[in-house]
C-alpha cells in the first residue's frame, strides 16, 4: 500500500469454529475474496475485493460467514466522509472516471414515500377483489381522433393505431443482452409472455433463441443501433427509441470488447473483441424534427403495425421535451427517473444528473393535458418503482403503466452490490462468464419474476378495491386518490396533489 490507503467498505467475518475449510466460498466468489492458506491450513479473505454481494454467505454450508460494514474509519469528518476520501484516493491513483452500476444510492427525497393513498368509507363502498371483478388490463398507444361508421351506421373499429395490450400495467424495462446474461434475458422473456406483458431488449439486439417471444418483446433502437435490422424490428411488439436513460442522462454507453464474444458479438452484429460504443446522442437526431423522421422511418419499415416508444431520461425540462415527442408521431413516451439502474455509468453522472420520476411524470402528464394531447400518447414511468404501492401512485399521478428493472433483477437474485460494471456478477445476472451465467437457472428466474409481478398485481387490486375503483383506467391520473405528507407547497404543486388533511 502506498500513500492512498483505501479502507475497504466491507469486512468478511469468518467463524473459525464453524468453517470446515470446504473452500466452497473460494469457488463461489468471482472477485477472489476467499483463498486457502496452505501454511495455516485455514481460509483467509481479502476485504478490499469484497463488494458485499453475499454469494458466499448464502452458499456457506457451515453458516460460518458474515459480511459487515467495515467499522474502521478515517478520522470522523462530516464533510470528508470515508467514501469521499476513498474516491479521491482512487482517482489520484488512476486518473480515471469513477464507474458504478445500478441506481443512484444517495439519500435524495423519495417522493413515493411522501404520498399516501385513499380508501373508501361509508359514502362509497370499497370493492372486494375476491368477490368482484377487478381489472388491471390496459392498452398503450395513440387513440384515434375521428370516429368512423360503416354504411349501416355501426362504429368502425379498424381505425385504431397499433397498441400494446397489457394484462397488468407493469413492463420489464430495457436491459441489454451483454449487460445482463442469456439466462437473465430468457427469464424475462418467458415471464413477460406468461404474465401478458412485455420485456425490452435494451440496446443489445435480440438473440436468435428469443425471436419466439417476439409478441411480448419490445425491441430497442438506441444510438449505437446494435443488432438493428429489418427482421429484428419486425420481431417485436413495439419499437423503443432510446434517447436517454435515468441512470446516465446525456451520455451513451460502453460495453468493453472483452464482453463482445460469441453470441453477444453475433447478436449485436459487431466483430468479436470490438468495443460497443453507443454515442451520447443519436447521430441522426440533432433536434426534434430529426426524431420525427426516425419515428416515421421505423413506422415505414414495419408497415405502421408497431407502436413506437420514445424513452427519455427525466431531466429538468422533461415536460416540454415530452410535449415535443408527443407531436413527433411517437405512440408511447417512457420517462426514466434519476434512480433508474444501469450496468455501468460514471458515478458522478449517476448520482447527480436528472430528477425524480415522481415529479417528472406529474409534470409531463400535466403538460400533455394542458396542451390537449394526452390522448395522443401513453406514458410509461420508470426508474425507482420498488413495489406495488409505487405502481399505484405512479398511475394515480398520470402514468399508464410502469417499467421495472431493478426490482426484476432483485427477483432474479441480484443483491444490489452495484458492481455490474466488473462483469463478475456472482449471481449470474450481470455477467457473460459461462461459469457464472449458469448459476442463474432460467426456470427459477422465470418463476420468481412471475411470482413477483403476480404478487404486485394482487396488491394493486386490493388497493384499488379499497378506493372503490374496479378498473385501472379509473385510477390513471386520479390524483385525488393521493395526499402528500411532509411536502412543501411547491412540491405539492408540481405533483398536483393536496396535502393530507386537506
Amino acid at each position: 500500500m502506498g500513500i492512498h490507503d483505501i479502507i475497504p467498505e466491507y469486512e468478511v467475518l469468518r467463524d473459525p469454529q464453524r468453517c470446515t475449510v470446504c473452500r466452497l466460498c473460494e469457488r463461489e466468489c468471482a472477485n477472489g475474496v476467499h483463498s486457502f492458506n496452505p501454511k495455516t491450513g485455514k481460509m483467509q479473505s481479502d476485504n478490499t475485493k469484497c463488494v458485499d454481494c453475499r454469494r458466499c454467505v448464502v452458499f456457506c454450508p457451515a453458516h460460518a460467514l458474515k459480511i459487515v460494514r467495515n467499522e474502521e474509519s478515517y478520522r470522523t469528518n462530516a464533510q470528508w466522509d470515508r467514501q469521499t476520501v476513498n474516491e479521491i484516493f482512487k482517482q489520484a491513483e488512476t486518473g480515471g472516471m469513477l464507474l458504478s452500476s445500478m441506481g443512484n444510492p444517495k439519500p435524495y427525497p423519495i417522493y413515493w414515500d411522501k404520498m399516501l393513498l385513499n380508501a373508501s368509507q361509508v359514502t362509497n363502498p370499497s370493492i372486494d377483489p375476491l368477490r368482484e371483478p377487478m381489472e388491471t388490463r390496459t392498452f398503450l398507444g395513440k387513440k384515434p381522433h375521428e370516429l368512423r361508421r360503416d354504411e349501416k351506421g355501426r362504429l368502425r373499429t379498424d381505425n385504431l393505431p397499433p397498441q400494446l395490450d397489457l394484462d397488468v400495467p407493469i413492463l420489464f424495462s430495457a436491459m441489454s443482452y451483454g449487460a445482463i446474461s442469456y439466462n437473465a434475458h430468457k427469464s424475462l422473456a418467458r415471464a413477460a409472455t406468461a404474465l401478458g406483458t412485455y420485456y425490452n431488449t435494451g440496446e443489445g439486439g435480440l438473440h436468435e433463441d428469443f425471436y419466439k417471444y417476439g409478441p411480448h418483446t419490445i425491441v430497442q433502437v438506441a444510438s449505437g443501433r446494435f443488432g438493428v435490422y429489418k427482421r429484428y424490428l419486425e420481431a417485436g411488439a413495439a419499437i423503443e427509441i432510446k434517447i436517454g436513460q435515468g441512470a446516465k442522462p446525456g451520455i451513451g454507453g460502453h460495453l468493453p470488447g472483452s464482453k463482445i464474444v460469441g453470441d453477444i458479438s453475433r447478436t449485436r452484429m459487431i466483430p468479436e473483441g470490438c468495443d460497443a460504443i453507443s454515442p451520447a446522442p443519436h447521430h441522426d437526431i440533432y433536434s426534434i424534427e430529426d426524431l420525427r423522421q426516425l419515428v416515421y422511418s421505423l413506422k415505414e419499415a414495419t408497415d405502421y403495425k408497431k407502436p413506437i416508444i420514445v424513452k427519455i431520461a427525466a431531466v429538468h425540462n422533461v415536460a416540454a421535451i415530452a410535449s415535443g415527442i408527443a407531436r413527433s408521431g411517437a405512440d408511447i413516451i417512457a420517462v426514466d427517473g434519476f434512480r433508474g439502474g444501469t450496468g455501468a455509468a460514471p458515478t458522478r453522472i449517476r448520482d447527480n444528473v436528472g430528477i425524480p420520476i415522481e415529479l417528472a411524470i406529474a409534470a409531463v402528464d400535466d403538460r400533455l393535458r394542458q396542451e390537449k394531447i394526452r390522448d395522443r400518447v401513453s406514458l410509461i414511468a420508470g426508474g425507482s418503482i420498488r413495489n406495488s404501492a409505487d405502481v399505484v401512485k405512479a398511475i394515480a399521478l398520470g402514468a399508464d403503466a410502469v417499467y421495472i428493472g431493478t426490482a426484476a433483477l432483485i427477483a432474479l437474485g441480484c443483491h444490489l452490490c452495484r458492481a455490474c460494471q466488473t462483469g463478475r456478477c456472482n449471481w449470474g445476472i450481470a455477467t457473460q462468464r459461462p461459469d457464472l451465467v449458469k448459476r442463474l437457472d432460467p426456470d427459477v428466474g422465470t418463476k420468481s419474476l412471475i411470482n413477483l409481478v403476480s404478487a404486485w398485481k394482487h396488491e394493486i387490486m386490493e388497493m384499488m378495491g379499497g378506493m372503490g375503483i374496479n378498473s385501472i383506467e379509473a385510477l390513471r391520473g386520479n390524483r385525488l386518490m393521493l395526499r402528500g405528507i411532509g411536502l412543501n407547497d411547491r412540491e405539492l404543486k408540481v405533483l398536483g396533489i393536496k396535502h393530507a388533511g386537506e
Binding site: 373508501s120 359514502t123 362509497n124 363502498p125 370493492i127 368482484e132 371483478p133 381489472e135 388490463r137 390496459t138 392498452f139 387513440k143 384515434p144 370516429l147 355501426r154 362504429l155 373499429t157 385504431l160 397498441q163 393535458r369 390537449k372 394526452r374 390522448d375 378506493m467 372503490g468 375503483i469 374496479n470 378498473s471 383506467e473 379509473a474 385510477l475 390513471r476 391520473g477 386520479n478 390524483r479 385525488l480 386518490m481
Partner: protein
Amino acid sequence: MRDRSNGLGGGFAAYGIYPKQKDLYALHVFYGSRRAKDECERIIHASFDISVAERIPTRRVPGITDAPAVWRYFGLPFPKLLEAADIDEREFVVRFVMKVNTEVQGAYVFSSGKNMGVFKAVGFPEEVGRFYRLEDYEGYCWTAHGRYPTNTPGWWGGAHPFALLNYSVVHNGEISSYDANRRFIEMHGYRCTLLTDTEVIAYIIDYLNRRRGLSLKETADVVAAPFWKEIAAMPKEKRGYYTYLRNVFSSLLITGPFSILVGFAGGMMALNDRLKLRSMVVGEKGDTVYVASEECAVRTVEPDLDRLWSPRGGEPVIITLDKGVKV
C-alpha cells in the same frame, strides 16, 4: 322519500314546459348579488338575442331560506358571433355557460336547454317544488332528486339535476373515478367548478353524445362498460366493439356506485354502474314509465303498475316519446 335526503338540496328537470318558446334557449340563472346580475346580463345581452327576461315565479316556503335571485332568459345566440367563432349554436352555448360559471363571481347558469328547465334549491324536494310553483308547468318528462351531500357543502348550484344544453343528470351515488374523469374532460374545454361527480357525468355525456357523436347506448357502453371477462365471452363483432370503446375512451369509464337519470330532448336514459352498487328499478303503466332508486318511490306515484323490473348493472334503459308525438 324524505328519509333518503337531508334537506341540503332538491331539484327537478322538466321537459316540454316552454312550448311557446320551444325554439329558444331557456337560460336559468342564480344571482348572489346585484353586481353579479349586472355583469352576467352584460354577457348575456352581448351573446344572445333575448326575447324574454324575467324572474322565475316563486313563492315563500318555510323550509327554503337565503334564496338567491332566480332569473330566466329566452333567446338565441347572435348568428354573426357563431360565424365569427366558426362554431355551432350548441357549442356556443356551452362556452357561454362555462364562461359565466367560472368567471362571473356570484352568477351561476344552471339550465341552458330548449323547451326544458331545471328548478333546484337547498331544501327538501317537495319544498323546492312548492317554491318554484311547479304545479303551473306541464311537461312530458320529469326527473327529481333529493340530496344527501357527501363531498361538497349544500348550496343552490350544487343541487341536482345538473344540466347543460338539453341534457340533465340526476345522480345517486359517489363515483370513485371522479378525478380521472375530470382531468380528461377538462382537457376538452369543460371546467368542473362544483367538485361534484354529477357535474362531470353531465359533461361526459355532452362530450360523447354531442361532440363525439356517439349514441346514448354507445355512451352508456363507455361509462358503464362491461367487464373484460364478459367481453371475452362475446361473439367477435361485439367483442371488437366493446374492446374498441374501452380502449379509445378508457378515461371516461365511471367506477363506483351510481344510478343516474339522463334527461334529453324527447326522452330519458336510466343507467346503473356496472356492478349495480346502487339500486334502480323501472316501472311501467300504460305509456308512462317510472324510474327510481327504490321501488317504494315508484309505488307512491303509481301503486298499480303493469310491470316492474330491475335493469342489470351497466345496461341502459332508454325511454323515448312515441313516434309522431309533438311536444
